[in-house]
Point group: C2
Chain length 127, copies 2
């Protein structure tokens, strides 16, 4: 299937900017050059790309959903101060989840670990 110009722009923006952008971030990155892009189009295509498995969506406890072009299984830390999202590799977490699945009658489909705290920069600028 061939993609529309807009969908391609939106996909590339997520894939090339590994900052876990929100829909609004993507919109604001593209809007200056592609002046008649609509925010609704960004949301619609981000959802389509998630359904296609091209990108993933990260639900944030407070604030907008974020999108991620890194399809490898990984988790995230979010800085409560500046809102930046960082990738983490969680070796051993799968084992924990599998143990839970084995000791309950729950069928696991997916799981996410989210760590909250302060990033390096924000830790320094607080004292």
């Amino acid at each position: 299937m061939k993609y529309s110009k807009q969908r391609e722009l939106i996909q590339n923006t997520v894939l090339e900017n590994r900052i876990h952008p929100t829909a609004d971030d993507v919109y604001n990155m593209l809007k200056p050059i592609h002046t008649n892009l609509s925010l609704g189009t960004v949301y619609r295509n981000l959802n389509t790309l998630v359904e296609n498995g091209t990108i993933i969506k990260i639900s944030m406890p407070n604030g907008s959903d974020r999108y991620d072009g890194d399809l490898s299984k990984h988790d995230h830390m979010v800085c409560d101060q500046c809102g930046k999202v960082f990738d983490i590799k969680t070796e051993g977490l799968l084992n924990i989840v599998q143990k839970i699945e084995n000791t309950t009658d729950f069928e696991v489909r997916d799981y996410q670990l989210m760590i909250h705290g302060l990033c390096h920069n924000c830790k320094e600028s607080k004292g």
Copy 2:
């Protein structure tokens, strides 16, 4: 500090119903008897109780926040079918998080594991 009648009702509802109710759930449980209770009052007092450390709030990836009277550190599984939320004890997760904290310059304040899947009932009724 003495609590208002409303706050006490709301607190008791969360503490006595360990189903991880939403604000709307709490409202709907109380409204039939306390006919002039306002949904805004439920939200406001739930927030106050969370600030006081009397209850905790669980952010759900899709849908409303849920509230929990169980203050012990634990995590949750949510059924993608029926939406029910189940408690899980995650032995070993703290170690994983501490290892991440030690190998990064991130200061961890809190963390949550959320597992998605199918509960026992919904697994059966699908085949």
